[in-house]
Symmetry: C2
Subunit: 492 residues, 2 copies
C-alpha cells in the first residue's frame, strides 16, 4: 500500500488554510451529533517517527470540547502490561459512547516494532494480525467508528526532521535510537509497514495514508477523512451489520433436556473424602500455576438457585486468597454499558499466574440481554462468534479456560425458591425478578441450548454440572478444575 | 505497643473451634447488614513475615459471599506506581459502599520497609505517618470502617516457620531475602514496627495486635475484633463525627463582591500579542516539565458561562497532547458515588511530568453538593479540611497546583445565557438546570466566598480570573500558569 501510494494533489497554501478552517467547523458540529448518536470514535495515528502525529493530533483536538475526547499515548508495554494478553492494554482504553479517543500509536507500532526486532516470529505475527482484524471488526460491529491514519514521509524528509530535532538542545531528547534506526533502515521498515497495512486494511476499518510532508496539509487530509468517516458512521449508525459466520470447530454437547440428573448423586461419606482429597490437590496446583505464570479463567453460568455460589466456595476454599479473585457479574453500570459489551470482562482479566472466577459472565449477552431485549437481535446473533474470538485470545495468551453450566431441573428450582422465601436468613437471595425469570424457563432453556452448541470450542469447553445434588456438582467441578490445571502445569 | 503487648488468654482448642464457628456465622449475618447500611469496610492485615496473614484471610472470607468482598495483595510499588503520590495506589483500591476489601499488607509494610532500608529519612517517615493518619481519619469520617490487624509472632516462631517453608521444595520460593533479614534482625524490626504502631494508633482506626502463634486462634481473634468493629460501625453509621479543625495557614483572598470586573479588559491587539508570546513560553515549559518529571494540576471552578471552556482551550492549545489531559467533571457515576468523595479525583491524577486540567473539581463538595443537599452538613463542613489535606499530599509529592475561580457578574451571566438560548449552535450549552442554579446565585456566592477563604493555602492558592472580558481572563490565566511553571522548573 505504501509503495503504491499516490499522493493526493496538495492545494495551494491559501486554499489549505481556508479548507482547514471549514473542516474544523464541521468537526465542531459533528462532535455534538456524535454525542447525541452515542457514537464511540477511535482515531488511531500510526506512522514514521517525526512524521508529525503528535502535532496534528494537537491541532485536530482544538475543534473539540474537552468533555468529548481524550488523547492516549500508548508507548511500549510495561512489565505489568506483559502479564496480560496482547490486546488487554488497548481494550482497556477504548472510548465510551459519544466520545473520541485519539491514540498516538496503537497496536501497529507494537506489532511492527516487535516484528522488526525479531521479538515475535512469523507465526506470532500472523496471530497478532488476526487478533487485530477480528477486534477491529468486532468494534465496528458494535457501533464503533475506527479511523486509522498512517503518517507517511520519505527517508529524506525524516532525516531532515530528525537532524533538526537533534540540533536543538531543547528537543534532542525526543529522538531515540529507534528513530535513528528507522531512518537508517528505512527500506526494511517500509516493507514491514507496507505489509502490515495490507494485512489489516479491511473494509470495516480501512487505512488512510497521510502525506505528512507538510503539517498543515497533513492536518487537512486527516480532517477530511475524519469528517467523511463520521458522516458515514452517523448515517449508518443504527443499521445492522452483516453477521460474520461462526467458523470455530465446535464439540458436541447434549441438550439440557438430554441431561439426566436423578442419577447424579454422591454419598456424604464419599463427598467428604473427595472434597478433602481434591482440595488438597488444587492447593498444590495453585502454587505451581503461580510459579509457572499460567492464568486461569473459570466461568460459571447456570439456573438461579442452581448452587453456583456454594460450588464456587468449594473451589476458593482451596486457594490462596492472594492468587485469585471472584468476579460477581451483575447488570452493567452506566460507564460499562457505554462501551463494547466485552469491555467489562477485558478489564477484569486475571494477571498471569492468577485465577479469576466469574460468577456469571459475558454469556449474559446471549441469555438475559437476548431475552429481555437489552440488545438487538443482530447484537446477540453476532455475539457467539465474538465470544469465541474473545476466548480464543485468552487461550492463545496461555489461559486455562473452564466454563461451567450448573444444571438443575424446573422442580428443583421451585423447591429451592420456596425454601429461600420461607427461610428468613435466605430471603435476600430471592427477588421478584427471580420469579419473573422462572416464568421464562422455556425461552431460557432454548437460549442456553443454542449458546452451549455454538460456543463449545476445544480451547474453551463447556462442562455440565448436574446440581440437583449440589454435593455431586461440587465434586465434579473440583475434579474438572484439578484435571485441567494438572494438564496445563505439566505442559508448561 | 508490641513490646508491652499482653497476649489474651488462649482458650482450649475445643472452645476455639466452637467460637470460630459462632463468629463465622455472625460475620455471615453482618455481611447483609453491611450491604443494607452501605458500609464500606477496609480490613488491613500487617505483620511479620510467615505470621499467617494470608491463610487467616483465606479462612475469614469463607463466611462472606464473593459478591461482597475482594482481596488485594499490595506488594511493592511498581515503577508505574512510583510516578504517582505515595497514597495513590492505596486510594485506588478502597472499597465501595456495602463491600469489604481485605488487604494483605498495606501502607505500613511500605513505610516501615523503606524506613528500615534507609530509602526514606526521618522527615519523610514523619510525613508518611501524617499522610496515613489524616487519610485514615478522612476515610472513617466519610463512613468507612477501617480495621487494622498486626500479626505478631516471636523470633523463635518465625524462624521455625521459615525453616519449615524452606525445607519443603514446593514452598521454598515463598521465603524471600526480606523474610530472612527480618528474622535475623528481629529486634531492630520490632523497634520500627512498634514505633509505627504507636504513631498510627488513632481512635478512629486503632490497631489490633493478634497473637499469631496459632492459626486457628489467630483467626478467632480477628473474627472477634472484626465483628465487634462492624457492630459498632453499624450502630454509629449515621452519626455525625466531630469535625477536625482546619489548621492550615490561609492566605487572604477578597470576597467575590469586592472584585472589580469592569476595569479588567484588554485590547484585541494586546490580546493577540500576549496570547502568542505566552503560549510559546508555555510550550517550552511543558517540555521541561516532562523532562524534570514535575506533575501539574490546574483546577477550574467558576460561574456557569464564565468562560472556563474557552480559557482551558487557550492553555491546551500550547500543550503537547501527549502530555496533558483535560478532566471534565460531571456529577458522579454510581460506582464513584459509592466511594469516598475524593476517590474519583485520586484516580484521575496525572503521572509525574504530565498536566491534568480539571474542568470543575473536588470543590463541588462545598458548592453544588452542599447547596443541593447531596451530602450532609457535617460532610461539607468537614470537606474544607479534607480538601486542604488532599492538596497538601499533592504538593508534597511535588505537584504544581493552580486553582482558578472564573468570575463574572450576575448581569453578564444573564446576557450569555440569553445568547446561548437564542443561538442554535450554542443551545446544547444551556439547560434548565443552569437557569435553576442561576436563581440560587446569592447562596452560591456565599458558599464560594466561604470556600475561597477556607482553602486558599500557600501550596494550593486560588487565583481569581476576572472574566467579564474573556480575553482578559485568558491572558491572566496563561500568565499565572507560565509564572508558576517557570518557578517550579527553576527550583528543580
Amino acid at each position: 500500500m505504501l509503495k503504491d501510494f499516490v499522493k493526493a494533489a496538495k492545494p495551494e497554501e491559501e486554499q489549505i488554510t481556508k479548507e482547514v478552517k471549514q473542516a474544523r467547523e464541521k468537526l465542531a458540529v459533528y462532535q455534538m451529533k456524535i454525542k447525541e448518536a452515542k457514537l464511540p470514535v477511535m482515531v488511531i495515528f500510526e506512522g514514521w517517527g517525526s512524521a508529525g502525529k503528535g502535532s496534528v493530533i494537537g491541532r485536530v483536538i482544538r475543534s473539540i470540547d474537552p468533555r468529548f475526547f481524550t488523547v492516549k499515548t500508548m508507548g511500549d508495554p510495561s512489565p505489568q502490561d506483559m502479564r496480560y494478553p496482547f490486546l488487554y492494554r488497548y481494550m482497556k482504553e477504548i472510548p465510551e459512547a459519544g466520545k473520541f479517543v485519539f491514540f498516538d500509536t496503537f497496536w501497529m507500532e507494537e506489532v511492527t516494532g516487535q516484528k522488526m526486532s525479531g521479538e515475535i516470529d512469523e507465526k506470532t505475527y500472523a496471530r497478532r494480525v488476526r487478533s487485530i482484524n477480528t477486534t477491529e471488526r468486532s468494534l465496528t460491529d458494535n457501533g464503533y467508528l475506527v479511523m486509522k491514519f498512517f503518517f507517511h514521509i520519505s527517508k529524506k524528509t525524516q532525516k531532515k526532521r530528525l537532524q533538526a530535532l537533534l540540533d536543538d538542545k531543547s528537543t534532542a531528547w525526543r529522538v531515540d535510537e529507534n528513530d535513528i534506526l528507522e531512518n537508517k533502515e528505512y527500506k526494511k521498515y517500509l516493507e514491514t509497514y507496507d505489509r502490515y497495512l495490507e494485512d489489516t486494511n479491511r473494509s470495516a476499518a480501512p487505512w488512510y495514508i497521510i502525506d505528512a510532508s507538510d503539517k498543515k496539509w497533513a492536518e487537512l487530509q486527516v480532517l477530511r477523512f475524519l469528517n467523511q468517516g463520521i458522516d458515514t458512521a452517523l448515517k449508518n449508525h443504527s443499521l445492522a451489520v452483516p453477521i460474520l459466520q461462526n467458523t470455530f470447530r465446535l464439540n458436541k454437547i447434549p441438550l439440557l433436556s438430554e441431561i439426566s440428573l436423578a442419577d447424579k448423586t454422591i454419598s456424604d461419606e464419599e463427598y467428604r473424602k473427595e472434597l478433602d482429597r481434591l482440595q488438597k490437590k488444587l492447593r498444590d496446583l495453585h502454587n505451581e500455576l503461580y510459579l509457572k505464570k499460567i492464568p486461569v479463567i473459570i466461568a460459571y453460568e447456570g439456573w438461579d438457585a442452581a448452587g453456583k455460589g456454594g460450588n464456587i466456595k468449594r473451589i476458593t476454599a482451596a486457594l490462596d486468597p492472594r492468587g485469585y479473585e471472584v468476579q460477581p457479574i451483575a447488570s452493567p453500570e452506566p460507564h460499562e454499558k457505554a462501551r463494547h459489551f466485552l469491555w467489562r470482562f477485558w478489564t477484569r482479566l486475571p494477571k498471569d499466574g492468577h485465577i479469576a472466577i466469574f460468577d456469571r459472565t459475558w454469556y449474559g449477552r446471549v441469555m438475559v440481554e437476548r431475552l429481555e431485549g437489552f440488545c438487538s437481535e443482530n447484537d446477540w446473533q453476532r455475539a457467539y462468534n465474538e465470544i469465541n474470538q474473545f476466548e480464543k485470545e485468552l487461550a492463545e495468551w496461555g489461559a486455562v479456560i473452564i466454563k461451567f453450566w450448573v444444571q438443575i431441573d424446573n422442580e428443583t428450582q421451585l423447591a429451592r425458591f420456596t425454601d429461600r422465601q420461607n427461610t428468613p436468613e435466605k430471603q435476600w437471595k430471592i427477588t421478584d425478578e427471580d420469579w419473573r425469570n422462572r416464568e421464562k424457563w422455556p425461552q431460557y432453556e432454548q437460549a442456553v441450548d443454542e449458546m452451549l452448541q455454538k460456543t463449545n470450542t476445544s480451547f474453551a469447553p463447556w462442562y455440565i454440572l448436574e446440581s440437583n445434588d449440589k454435593k455431586y456438582a461440587r465434586i465434579k467441578a473440583l475434579r474438572i478444575v484439578v484435571e485441567a490445571l494438572k494438564k496445563a502445569v505439566e505442559k508448561k
